[in-house]
């Protein structure tokens, strides 16, 4: 029996989607994704309402969802990250129910254990055959890894693959196979390639970022983890990627060969793989075209599911084998708790993604941040929103000093022995406030607009709506 449905509308009807149900999406097409908007608009046209939308992430391109919230089509949101007009609307209190913010590892856990029950999963597929064997590495809208969609495909009541690149049966390689796919829909285009590979892979030009990155690479060296077999993950922006640059220099000059690089994979990591500085790459998400090419062509570039990446309830997951992770922050408090979800004014502008997962898994978790972010001190008494608990964060590296979590006595000792500028995190806070002045406290209403669910399912903080000034 053919799985091809003549239209998206027919596929939705065939899936049995009803009022009050939950639909899910992955975010591999990032800010170039057409599928979420396309599907939600069709659902609204079908007169279906009260939908919970569970996507791994939302980007500015998903601004049209605000309209579906107004009409009551969407009444609940689950995600790991949210930016753009949708985040703004949620901040302004437009959604009645609080958003459930999870982590990249917490989402598959919730899906597998049934706490996030998906009725219909819509999977944007850069290539598919007529039976729903899918991969993300080929086609006009190729995005590489399909890792975040794998738990959805496995657990959803119905699975609809949406593709703009139908290939002859059987499609291969297979990221998600036909045993889990109910319907296949062919559309003109699932995404805009320029928005899909939007990850910035330029090493920062900001000289302060370079100072921070050099310190961070020195911290990794001083920790004793810089030796053959090192595994490493870093964010794609600013000082994080610059840290990878300086770590690479240290690996080259020390003749060190790493075991794997992980994460959102960028051209920078692909180069390290191809230059023999890593044996393997573990890839849950590709950030640029070089990563997409590499995952297609290089057997040492391994595509993994979100569950294998970071699910804490799995029998094991990759973040547990990670040595070093370098992450950013919008705020970090004197207990080393990190906020990457709201800015200091309380506006939603992100989410954990894999932040809390890698921080807990890695042997060494380094936060890199400018001491002042647009005048605002990065170190605060208490983070506006607690996303990654301080117990899982080892070091904060700024351009004016390195603060070590007091629980890491060993690490503090080795950094001091290597002559690195170690200071108390309270001192960094005072330094920042001396330069910028103490910021006036932002006031909040008592209206909860989001829950922060830690990777293990525990609600560790609530997001409150900022007060209108």
């Amino acid at each position: 029996m053919s799985k091809i449905r003549v239209s998206l509308r027919k596929a939705i009807i065939a899936s049995g989607l009803k009022n009050g149900m939950t639909v899910s999406f992955h975010h591999h097409l990032r800010n170039g994704d057409f599928v979420i908007n396309m599907v939600m608009s069709e659902i609204e046209d079908l007169g279906i309402s009260d939908i919970r939308i569970a996507a791994s992430s939302f980007f500015p391109i998903h601004g049209s969802l605000v309209r579906h919230i107004k009409t009551g089509t969407i009444t609940a949101i689950d995600c790991n990250y949210m930016s753009g007009p949708l985040a703004e609307a949620v901040t302004n209190g437009m959604l009645q129910k609080p958003v459930m913010f999870r982590t990249h590892g917490g989402r598959p856990r919730a899906i597998m254990d049934g706490s996030l029950k998906i009725d219909v999963a819509f999977i944007a597929s850069p290539s598919s055959d007529d039976m729903g064997n899918l991969n993300g590495a080929s086609g006009p809208s190729s995005c590489g890894s399909l890792g975040y969609a794998m738990p959805d495909a496995l657990m959803a009541g119905k699975v609809i693959a949406i593709t703009d690149n139908l290939v002859a049966y059987p499609n291969g390689p297979v990221s998600i196979d036909e045993t889990n796919v109910d319907h296949v829909v062919v559309v003109d285009s699932i995404g805009d390639p320029s928005g899909i590979v939007s990850g910035t892979t330029q090493v920062t030009r900001d000289p302060v970022g370079h100072v921070i990155a050099r310190h961070a690479a020195d911290v990794i060296e001083a920790s004793g983890l810089l030796k053959d077999g090192i595994s490493f993950q870093t964010g794609a922006g600013g000082a994080s990627l610059a840290t990878a640059h300086y770590l690479r220099e240290k690996m080259v000059s020390g003749g060190i060969k790493g075991s794997f690089g992980m994460g959102g994979i960028t051209a920078f990591f692909v180069d390290m793989l191809e230059d023999g500085l890593f044996e393997k790459l573990i890839d849950v998400q590709c950030f640029d075209l070089d990563a997409v090419r590499s995952i297609r062509e290089n057997p040492n570039h391994i595509e993994v599911s979100a569950s294998q990446y970071a699910n804490p309830s799995a029998k094991s997951c990759s973040v547990e084998s990670l040595d070093v992770v370098v992450l950013g922050a919008t705020e970090i408090d004197t207990d080393f708790n990190v906020n990457v979800l709201t800015d200091s004014s309380g506006n939603i502008m992100g989410g954990s993604g894999g932040h809390s997962d890698t921080a807990q898994g890695a042997k060494l978790t380094i936060i890199v941040a400018n001491l002042l972010r647009a005048r605002l001190p990065i170190v605060v008494d208490r983070v506006t929103t607690k996303v990654t608990p301080g117990e899982t964060v080892d070091v904060l590296v700024t351009e004016r000093g390195i603060a070590v979590n007091p629980a890491r006595v060993d690490l503090m000792k080795s950094l001091k022995e290597k002559g690195l500028p170690v200071v108390d995190i309270v001192e960094l806070k005072e330094m920042a406030e001396k330069m910028a002045g103490k910021p006036r406290k932002v006031s909040f209403t008592d209206r909860v607009i989001g829950f922060v669910e830690y990777r293990n399912g525990e609600i560790i903080d609530k997001v409150y709506q900022p007060a209108k000034e």
């Binding site: 005048r375 605002l376 002045g437």
Partner: protein
């Protein structure tokens, strides 16, 4: 002849753009400010502007400030320069 005006600074990150415009005779000092850190430092920026304007005896002007997260020293400097330019007539 048009009204006197002058500006200083830029819209680069950590900087600010200050524009000073002459007002109608008899009108009072007016300070208009927007900032990317308005919630946390808006009051402080206005306070500095008032302080310098008073010191330089500027009372018949509108001071427009667009702040991109500048520190106090830069805010002071740009307002001072704008006032000096205004008085020099450049």
């Amino acid at each position: 002849m048009g009204k006197k005006n002058a500006k200083a600074g830029s819209l680069e990150s950590s900087d600010l753009l200050v524009v000073i415009e002459e007002k109608e005779a008899g009108e009072k000092l007016e300070i208009v400010m927007n900032s990317i850190v308005e919630k946390q430092y808006g009051d402080r920026i206005i306070e500095i502007a008032h302080e310098i304007a008073a010191l330089k005896g500027m009372d018949n002007v509108r001071i427009l400030i667009q702040d991109r997260g500048a520190l106090d020293y830069a805010i002071r400097a740009r307002i001072e320069t704008a006032i000096e330019r205004y008085e020099r007539g450049v």
